[in-house]
Symmetry: C2
Subunit: 159 residues, 2 copies
């Protein structure tokens, strides 16, 4: 791996990250919900039923953040939130009928997005791309750990 290859690769990843952000944003906007709600919705839909704590874990967010996101979704009628009678600490979060509708809709849009993308890529590359992303994603998962060196900047006297 040569340095300039890494740089080019970083550039591609950065661009892709930006594109993925735009995708979420426009998809959510299309359905009249926020990006955070969109992500939560997809996860609740996928699980069928999930606790707030688990949802926060899956999304990598604090429970306080999720609590408020879900509050908003309850208010606009996307999900239902009820206490689990077996252990009254847990919430059971599920999609309402309307939530289900939006879920299906967003899923369709995302699927279409990727279908469109692969439509403009030669078919004989598809398997390779699939494998590559899988390798990359797996490698990343095992490499993410925030070990900091806290030296560089703290507070610079404003000139």
């Amino acid at each position: 791996m040569k340095p300039d290859e890494i740089r080019r690769f970083r550039e591609v990843m950065r661009q892709m990250q930006r594109n993925l952000g735009l995708l979420s944003k426009s998809d959510a906007a299309c359905c009249g919900i926020t990006v955070a709600q969109c992500h939560a919705l997809l996860e609740v839909g996928r699980s069928g039923e999930i606790t707030l704590f688990n949802l926060a874990s899956v999304l990598g967010l604090d429970t306080s953040t999720l609590s408020r996101t879900i509050e908003g979704m309850v208010r606009i009628g996307l999900v239902e939130r009820k206490v689990n009678p077996r252990d009254r600490r847990y919430l059971s979060i599920t999609l309402t009928e309307r939530g289900e509708q939006v879920y299906v809709d967003i899923n369709r849009t995302f699927d279409q997005f990727y279908a469109d993308i692969f439509a403009v890529i030669p078919e004989d590359k598809h398997a390779q791309i699939f494998e590559s992303l899988h390798l990359l994603s797996t490698a990343m998962d095992s490499n993410i750990d925030p070990n900091c060196r806290e030296e560089l900047i703290n507070e610079q006297p404003a000139k």
Copy 2:
């Protein structure tokens, strides 16, 4: 591309997007700056000199957002902001010495991150991954509303 393949692919992309977000965050935190500052810093460093307007275009952000981000960076001594005497509407944004230091440092960290990732991937897959990501990124670019990109950038020496 079969529906369930697309779903799995989406899942991988989502995970990667999350990992990339974490990466930016921990890198920025390590250097005592915010994520927005980190991205701006990388872009200013890459260009050497850039106007606020062009920087906003490259990053896909509103100039008001960038104006405040740069304000913060000036305050902590990362960049310098001076009026272009040839056209006094333009700012010329450049790295300070300290900004240069942090720029080099962040670049090193990002490079290392990707080097580490590729280190755990069989070498004979590297070229394939490069090609795949390139294909994917290009396909995405042409599928995303090409609202804010290259055509707005007129005058900067690179690197």
